[in-house]
């Protein structure tokens, strides 16, 4: 480009969709209504595991105001977000968790629909309940699903990159630690809502709070058995997503079907309790890490084992299972890596992707273990990490390509800003500092279903009025997707964002973008937008240069003008459009983006690759009251390698919001369950399906947060900008646990870190026992024989191994 200084990029600006959000004008899904609209309510299973023997709908159907009752028989075709886990029916005859929908009533209003639910006569035949992964491994029967690896194991993986046993045997030290990360949920402020109608053109229109309209579009076509071209999905602005609105959901299918059958608009809005049942949140994960180090503090190899509690459905589980391992080597030089992961089905709401998708759990274990390693080696935890940060433009043991990496600078930033060197291990008893680092993808390299099509498409239209309209399937979930789109187009065309209109998340009129997940939007949509804008720029430059009698390549697009610095001649942006429209006809351009092929080609190599990785370092300051175990967090320092900041207001907001969500997980959030007593059916119920009982931080609990955005522009990203929505969450939990250790000398090897656990550990310490609370046993998991792949450093080809296969270790067999 012919200008050096950015005019839009990097400037703190009001986001393009900001005004509507503060005036109440923004229409979320439940704010929509249509004439003759009906309302839907779902009957949900009170049993954690049961077959539906029969449903007598006659009484409910006869209720005044009831228009339709739907059950499993209305939905013969199953769905799911991943092609390998099409295991859900919109209404089920096999309830896999309390809250699983079994029937729907559509009526004139919510009250009538709710009342009619009481008149549905359902005969359930309860089945044995599987409450956790250990029970799932011990009880192959009854099977929660009739597919999967075996019994109640959904997915089971094993990979070995280099001979890890040999590496550990040759290490100066081997650290073996167990960690547990409790499940938690997204808790978006907006409860999911959907309005379905048959539009004036006869096509089905589904307006819904989804992060992924494209995937929903495909699944609707599947479930309704109609061409996708007859269905239009509009992703309404999401009132918070965090991964919770990624899966196509039962209620979306149900109201779509009802609208088609009745020829009337049908709306549903979940209650808060139902949002807890929809879930798809953080998997509870038990982890075992065996890590070898040299006495100088270099990693030699790691053997990571994970066991995931998947809940009742597949959801994103096949990917989640991979993500509990594959990104582990992205931060530090790790010559050899073995990774085994197993996801089990249990009778709880399905787990899925929550901010950081599968990676916060192993990152927690890895970063707490590093704290222990540093102590043992008498090294400063920051120096230990700085000594082994991955090199730019390198390949990890598991064949992930590291491009730019600003991790070392992030560590230096938080160390300097927190006065780490003078305060770590030097504060009075009860106060402490903890450090941790992390990394995240800038978009998953491969789409959820196999295809070679672009992952993001952008279409740009301009006309003689001077308006610039940009169309993209990307979804605004609050993170600033629309603002990123407008920023990139405006910067390329030298105009203000306020003349760019974003039309997004509408499968009826926008080019396909896969959605707001895996932190893919800035890079994928951004690169597509950049391509479209640059094409248009060429046309405008060509027409304007002809009029100005200058060379097109010399034109600078700036401040709403096209300038030729050499001659001093210039033209207004609108004038340039008009000349271009006269010269070329109606103006428009398209751009698209597909990430590069992954460097590895072994089976499974598709999960983990990303065109770029963001990096984060964090220092948490904690105060622990040794009498009560109460934990205070006065301040957090965080540095995030963002590549380039597009809008500092939004980028800083994503970092602080991530810190908030990470700290809230670290200290209190739990999607936990309990068994009712035997006389009450022994059902496995959610311990706290309400916002009052599901604790999260409030304005009064938030610490001061010092944010440093580290800018090391990545050549593969638009203007160098990497993701910022998920990465900064990841180091907060281990940094908090490490700070607790610095404060009072106890290890809490599980999340959340709560006062009762701190007190228990302090009691153990007082008795002279190991001052630790955390898991003490990792069950036998029948992991499969590993897929062995030689590492790049050991001359591998990315496909397999020249090593002879070893006999399976006895410990890996049940």
């Amino acid at each position: 480009m012919n200008k050096k200084r950015f005019e839009v990029v990097g400037r703190a600006r009001r986001r393009v969709d900001g005004r509507a959000k503060v005036t109440g004008a923004l229409r979320f899904a439940d704010d929509l209504s249509l004439p003759r609209m009906l309302h839907c309510k779902l009957l949900r299973s009170p049993h954690p595991h049961a077959l539906v023997e029969s449903i007598d709908t006659a009484k409910a159907e006869k209720r005044p105001g009831v228009h339709l009752v739907l059950t499993r028989k209305d939905f013969p075709v199953p769905f799911g977000i991943m092609p390998v886990s099409l295991d859900e029916h919109p209404l089920t005859d096999h309830a896999r968790h309390v809250g699983d929908p079994v029937a729907a009533v559509i009526a004139v209003d919510e009250q009538t629909a709710n009342a009619a639910l009481e008149f549905l006569q359902v005969r359930f035949s309860p089945l044995k309940t599987i409450s956790d992964p250990v029970e799932a491994l011990q009880n192959p029967e009854p099977r929660i699903h009739d597919y999967g690896e075996q019994g109640n194991i959904h997915r089971n993986l094993s990979y070995e990159f280099g001979d890890v046993d040999e590496a550990l045997a040759k290490s100066d030290h081997v650290f073996e630690d167990l960690f547990f990360y409790q499940g938690n949920t997204h808790l978006p402020m907006e409860e999911q809502a959907t309005l379905a109608t048959v539009d004036g053109d006869g096509k089905l229109l589904v307006s819904t709070s989804t992060q992924n309209p494209h995937y929903l579009h495909r699944q609707l076509a599947r479930v309704l058995q109609m061409p996708a071209s007859k269905i239009r999905v509009i992703a309404t602005p999401n009132g918070g997503g965090f991964g919770g609105k990624c899966d196509p959901a039962n209620h979306e299918m149900v109201v779509a079907k009802a609208a088609l059958m009745l020829g009337r608009p049908v709306k549903i809005c979940l209650t808060r309790e139902e949002v807890f049942y929809q879930h798809r949140g953080r998997h509870p994960v038990l982890m075992k890490l065996r890590t070898g180090v040299t006495k100088e503090g270099k990693l030699t190899g790691m053997h990571l084992q994970t066991l995931l509690d998947g809940g009742g459905y597949g959801s994103h589980g096949p990917a989640s299972t991979f993500y509990t391992g594959v990104l582990t080597p992205v931060t530090y030089e790790l010559p050899r890596f073995k990774f085994e992961a197993c996801r089990t089905f249990t009778n709880k709401p399905a787990c899925g992707p929550k901010r950081g998708h599968g990676t916060p759990q192993p990152r927690f274990g890895q970063e707490v273990q590093l704290d222990k390693i540093a102590e043992k080696l008498k090294l400063d935890p920051a120096e230990l990490r700085l000594g082994m940060v991955n090199k730019p433009d390198s390949l990890t043991a598991n064949w992930l390509r590291i491009g730019s990496i600003g991790l070392a600078q992030c560590i230096r930033e938080v160390v300097a800003r927190s006065d780490w060197k003078n305060r770590y291990r030097k504060l009075q008893y009860g106060k402490g500092l903890g450090l941790a680092c992390s990394s995240y993808m800038c978009g998953a390299g491969l789409p959820i279903y196999w295809n070679k099509l672009p992952q993001s498409g952008v279409q740009l239209l301009v006309d003689r009025s001077g308006q610039v309209t940009v169309y993209c399937g990307a979804t605004e979930i609050g993170q600033g997707s629309d603002d990123v789109l407008a920023t990139i187009v405006a910067e390329v065309l030298g105009i203000d964002t306020d003349i760019v209109r974003c039309v997004t998340g509408d499968t009826g009129i926008t080019p396909v973008d896969l959605g707001s997940y895996s932190s893919r939007v800035t890079v994928m949509m951004g690169n597509a937008a950049m391509q479209a804008a640059e094409k248009l720029r060429l046309q405008l430059a060509d027409a304007a240069a002809e009029q100005l009698e200058v060379r097109p390549a010399g034109l600078v697009f700036s401040g709403g003008m096209l300038l030729d610095p050499g001659s001093g001649r210039s033209m207004d942006f609108i004038e340039a459009i008009q000349f271009a429209e006269a010269k070329f006809g109606t103006l428009g351009s398209v751009g698209s983006y597909s990430p590069p092929n992954p460097p590895g080609s072994y089976k499974g190599a598709g999960v983990g690759p990303s065109v770029a990785y963001s990096y984060t370092a964090c220092v948490v300051e904690a105060e622990v009251d040794a009498k009560t175990g109460w934990i205070g967090v006065p301040k957090i320092w965080i540095a995030h390698d963002i590549g380039r900041t597009l809008n500092p207001v939004l980028a800083t907001g994503q970092v602080i919001g991530s810190v908030y969500m990470g700290l809230s997980e670290a200290l209190m959030e739990e999607q936990a369950f309990r068994r009712l007593p035997e006389k009450l059916s022994q059902a496995l119920v959610h311990r706290m399906p309400s916002m009052l009982e599901y604790k999260s931080l409030t304005a009064l609990d938030m610490p001061e947060v010092d944010v440093a955005l580290v800018e090391d522009p990545d050549p593969n990203c638009p203007f160098g900008a990497k993701e910022v929505g998920q990465g900064p969450l990841l180091p907060v939990m281990p940094a908090l646990a490490n700070a607790i250790y610095d404060a009072v000398g106890v290890r809490i090897d599980e999340i959340p870190v709560t006062p009762d656990k701190v007190l228990k550990a302090l009691e153990l310490k007082a008795k002279g026992l190991a001052p630790r609370v955390g898991p003490d046993h990792f069950p036998s998991v029948p992991y499969p024989k590993p897929i062995c792949v030689d590492t790049p450093a050991e001359g591998g080809d990315g496909k397999g191994s020249r090593r002879k296969e070893k006999p399976r270790a006895a410990s890996a067999v049940v």
């Binding site: 005036t23 109440g24 999401n238 808060r272 609050g478 907001g653 916002m691």
Partner: protein, 164 residues
């Protein structure tokens, strides 16, 4: 049983305007605002008084409209997010919320802004702690609250400057 119960007829003063309302008597103020007056700017996050998304001002006092029986609001002054802007110009709280990043997804925003308005109406120069205390009942999952506090401080400053 009649599926559509009888309606009651009352008068509110909504955002400064005399407003006749007609609604089913079981409804909450939240439902009447959203469903009968089409003022969907006021949101719901729990319908149980847990989240603060539905906060509106009733006679100048922040109230959770999901817990307020609409019948009890006859002749009361009700302020919602829709009435805050001054014509086409944003109220300083609205401007500050979007300029300082106090609003991300925007769903909790109306409730927080109305709660903050009540605070600034009674205390034009609140401390950070007072702002945090006033907004502690408004849950927000996006921002981490810091920019909300910052936005309220900046709006307070702008409002004080206006009064000078």
């Amino acid at each position: 049983m009649n599926a559509v119960p009888d309606r009651v007829h009352l008068r509110y003063v909504v955002n400064g305007e005399e407003t006749p309302v007609s609604f089913a008597p079981y409804k909450t103020l939240l439902e009447v605002l959203r469903e009968d007056l089409n003022l969907t700017g006021t949101k719901h996050g729990c319908e149980l008084g847990e989240c603060g998304a539905c906060a509106v001002l009733v006679d100048g006092v922040p109230q959770l409209s999901c817990l307020t029986l609409a019948l009890e609001c006859a002749d009361r002054r009700i302020e919602t997010i829709e009435g805050l802007a001054r014509g086409a110009e944003l109220h300083p709280l609205q401007a500050a919320f979007t300029d300082f990043g106090g609003s991300q997804c925007g769903y909790c925003t109306p409730g927080v802004i109305m709660t903050a308005k009540a605070l600034l109406d009674r205390n034009p120069n609140p401390s950070k702690q007072e702002i945090r205390e006033a907004t502690a009942g408004n849950l927000c999952r996006c921002t981490g609250y810091l920019q909300i506090t910052e936005a309220v401080e900046n709006a307070a400053q702008a409002l004080r400057a206006e009064r000078k």
